[in-house]
Assembly symmetry: D2
């Protein structure tokens, strides 16, 4: 039984590189030989035991790779093709998918319900911080990489870019909108980039880490607010002449960012929430206009599926945006524990790490 | 200076019938001779001092009447026409109105911002529990009553029906949806009726007052849940085989109804909130799926304007729905203090009172 | 090799009952034992050679049946379950499906493009006017029939009801809308019923066959216009005080109905087209307001997939609408040629025939 | 009675500069002193007698100016403010405006219906190729110019930019879309720029005039197709690997561009039509997929109103796009007849002329 190396959750505090069997390929699956992957903030929650997964699970949900073997019922792809798969892997055939709720597949007929819906890689099935990964429902999830794009160019597509952009999309950003983005980690940066791509003309980013604020400007943000230097709500109301913003994007998952995003909305504005929260939230009565502000609060889970990946890679291929600069550090799979250590502690101005396999 | 009788807020606990001057008609205004009006739950909040208005203000925001006099710049209407005006009176020319946010007019160029946006009658200007009322921005707000409809038939259009229906509309109810409505006061009843009109095929109403549950069934609700008899969240999950609802409408304004509505949503479902809250709200982490459920929380303020009123009266005229039965008690304006007493204390199974002038 | 009876296209003018092998079940397929099916107007186009299919193809795309055998990769269903499948059978995993274009599957990665998109049964693969039918991509397409519903009650779901309702849905019918429906065959009748379900308050149906106009009234249409008695455009403008309609639904596929639907639109109104056209169309300059009327022309192909079928069956189960009365004649499969003869010639006031197997 | 100079339609073939009285200011009006204006393709249709207006009408619908005098009922503005007004001047208070159909005001209660809906300037009332122009319903239509923007920077907002962008907006362009634009006159150029602003990643522009194709590239188009050199339908299908485009924008108003736009659509794609047609249109059966392609045809009239203008000026102010380069020639009002001669004959590579007053 052939073996492979994989980053495995052992217990809270320990994700380690182990040897595991290369998985068997079911009829609807594809086996990918992973070439590049990365570590997500959610993986750090798993590492710390804050998000529970079973012991022995391979972590990771952002694969770039090559098709090694296709399941017997899979058509439309060839072994040897370079592909990516999204962090969320919709089946395509669940009731959720068939009414456009692709990220909430787990609620459908065939899968039990879990809070994180259609997220399977490194959550309910083995993930891609490994030499090989099994892509479930492969026909819905394998997305060929266009010629000329490198692994690092498409590495943000499976999660960070898809999630970040969905913050702008679910917010319904329109030409001429004013948009505030609370937190400028990789997802917040992509949310700001997505708002810019959709035509927002005043984009205000809130964070305090200098590298992030610099990166925000580089990605096209119009104003940055350092929340250590000034109250972001007051600063944003000031920048908008008291009008507030059309769309506020929350990209961290805390009471402070959620509440700030709510407070800067104009009447009728939308709070688009991307963060993974770990506590109850409070909606202050005044910030909610007692329920009479015609406001919306919208949450989004990373959109997946091969069509989403095709579109995101077309954004990269068009040159409209360059996210390679989000990769600040590089490691081989052999050194992934080191990479976790750096990333989990946010040392050395790290934004994203690339793990080559 | 001619005088009229008007129900005036004197101090917390006292709304009394007084004599006041009939107002002068500005160029954009119309003076209505009120023929029928009603009392809203919000008026009771004013009575109790829970919602602040200035002393001496005439209360009431649901007018049916006859045009007595038109402002000098008002065209398109004739004196003597029977009309209604919505509780919310959009100007038409504010930036909010010109981007479709008709209920949030107050945020526009010409009016200062107030939490309740475009609500003016009985809030920032004199209301219609009086012999006469001045309709501002008359060209946008006067809606002629179709021949053959009585005052009582259209009495719910200005607020209750418009607000209730907007709960279903903002929730995006579609053919085949399952919808839960939390609280079956007049607005919740209209929300359920609106959900039925839009094609929901399983409508579940939650309340405990027998008259309200009976009325809910009469308006087309499929299941009623008495929250004193059973836990409404468990009951609704049971009625939907654990699937949850597509849309949950909150129609009261409390933590319990808000939280219940959130807990019964399917992944991807929408909480449509109509209530006027009086405290901060708490979003429990699990009920919010940690922000990952692709859910929406949408708030709506009563849509107004003459086109909205025209549409609502066309619903009545078509016979699709009959809301006259919501009027359980009738008073003349002279006896309005009595009407307040009955309504504020929810005595005698009261749903709505009609005040004839 | 076991055999079955099937209605097969032999040559223009001849669809005959033949004996064919029961098909083999591929890994993603399900074999249904058909219990009831029907004949569609499109089948008559095939019979007449107006819509080309290959010789030897089994016709029919509206199956009600029982699962006889499941493909090796199919999970979530049991043999013996009563199910229906839609006329259009989306794969779930095509790019089209993964961006919500479920009826245009043929445009996706795995299937060549054909004008009728995702329509496969009785078009590109064998259909269901037979003792058995193979359902492709079974996990996306098998929809269990709720207990208590008869075959005839759900027989309109796979095509007529799904197509008709989509006319109202794609038209964006809202509460209070005025809707005209041109032609009241089974699809037009369902379009009118769909408009009523979505809250239209003035529904005007155009046809000339007395049985159809009677059925239209029974399904909730407000006004009927006999185009042999009066000009439908003038009649509709008269009924709407010259305002025109919010949504006009075309349900036949001719220049006259298309043009009539265009001419009765209000500025900003939508023409929702359901018909299968057989000639070029002409858009008269004045009817199109020279391109300046903010109008929409929207076409829809029958939505399919198990979630769509689930929703439509929930409409039937709720009792909101009863389409059994559309079945005017009944035959056994043995007599299907007779049924074609009756239906193709529209004799005896036929609306739909039920074929029991 | 004070006089002013104005470009007046005298008879087909003659628009001449005449002396006319400065108009009186009604209660809802504002009198603008025009500082800059331009000539539109529609004005050339008027000049040639192809679009009928009454003799003696002042032409022009794209004003930049200074408020000279406000009507007695107008609040919220000051005399002396620099403003623009849109080509379409919604009242705000019509039924059309109050349901979001701002450009089709003429269909409302107060105005008779005309094919071009809400277009008043230089159509049903005097226009702005004059020293002064009366802005109707001023509170809905006066949009203050932000400090720092020149007349020429905002000169495209009232019509060209608003119309062009609406082609992308009505088409529903999304991140990652492929968009074709047929014709690259000023409106087509702005449509392409709008598609880019909304996130289209493959934009293909069709024209034949070298200056226009060059300008298209400068505004961010990815591919240009010279229809004199190659068949644009084949070229576009080639550029999209046979997939077709998500959105095709028609920006001229001819059968050839309309039909080409229809033929390049993917199943489910949208044809967004901006052109003013002068003949009946033909929809070829195959290009329309016999009505089964889930396609949309959407027409848009230039959105107006002060909020639209505010948003467009914010796009200019943000530096996202620079449309000054569309102004290729400059004239004073005294020489406007010369400007018409140049523009009507499309001499000297003219795109737009600026007329300073």
């Amino acid at each position: 039984m052939p073996k492979m190396k994989a980053a495995v959750f052992v217990e809270p505090g320990r994700i380690v590189l182990e040897s595991k069997p290369i998985p068997d390929v079911g009829p609807l699956d594809a086996l990918l030989r992973v070439t590049t992957t990365t570590i997500c903030g959610t993986d750090v929650h798993i590492l710390r035991g804050e998000y529970p997964v079973i012991k022995g699970l391979t972590i990771g949900h952002e694969p770039v790779g090559v098709i090694e073997k296709l399941g017997s019922a899979v058509a439309g792809f060839q072994e040897g093709q370079r592909v990516i798969a999204g962090a969320i892997t919709p089946s395509g055939y669940s009731n959720a998918c068939l009414c456009g709720q692709y990220s909430q597949d787990g609620a459908g007929t065939r899968h039990g319900f879990k809070p994180m819906g259609g997220w399977r890689f490194g959550n309910t099935i083995d993930g891609c911080q490994a030499e090989f990964v099994l892509v479930p429902d492969a026909m819905a999830n394998l997305a060929p990489v266009p010629d000329g794009l490198t692994d690092e160019q498409v590495l943000m597509c499976p999660d960070i870019m898809s999630t970040g952009f969905s913050g702008a999309e679910s917010g319904g950003v329109r030409i001429g909108d004013t948009v505030a983005v609370f937190a400028q980690g990789p997802i917040g940066l992509c949310a700001a980039a997505g708002a810019r791509l959709m035509g927002a003309t005043t984009i205000i980013a809130v964070d305090t880490v200098p590298e992030r604020l610099t990166m925000a400007r580089a990605l096209g943000v119009d104003h940055v607010v350092d929340f250590q230097q000034e109250d972001p709500v007051q600063a944003i109301l000031g920048l908008t002449d008291g009008r507030g913003v059309d769309v506020a994007i929350e990209a961290l998952g805390t009471q402070a960012t959620f509440e700030g995003a709510l407070r800067v909305l104009r009447p009728g504005g939308t709070l688009s929430s991307l963060g993974v929260y770990s506590t109850d939230l409070r909606i202050p009565l005044d910030a909610f206009a007692a329920g009479l502000g015609d406001n919306k609060i919208v949450t989004s889970l990373c959109p997946g599926g091969k069509e989403r990946m095709r579109r995101l890679m077309s954004v990269i291929a068009s040159g409209r945006i360059d996210l390679k600069s989000l990769v600040t550090h590089r490691f081989t799979l052999d050194r992934i524990e080191e990479a976790y250590e750096l990333f989990a502690n946010q040392r050395d101005g790290v934004l994203k790490v690339a793990i080559s396999v």
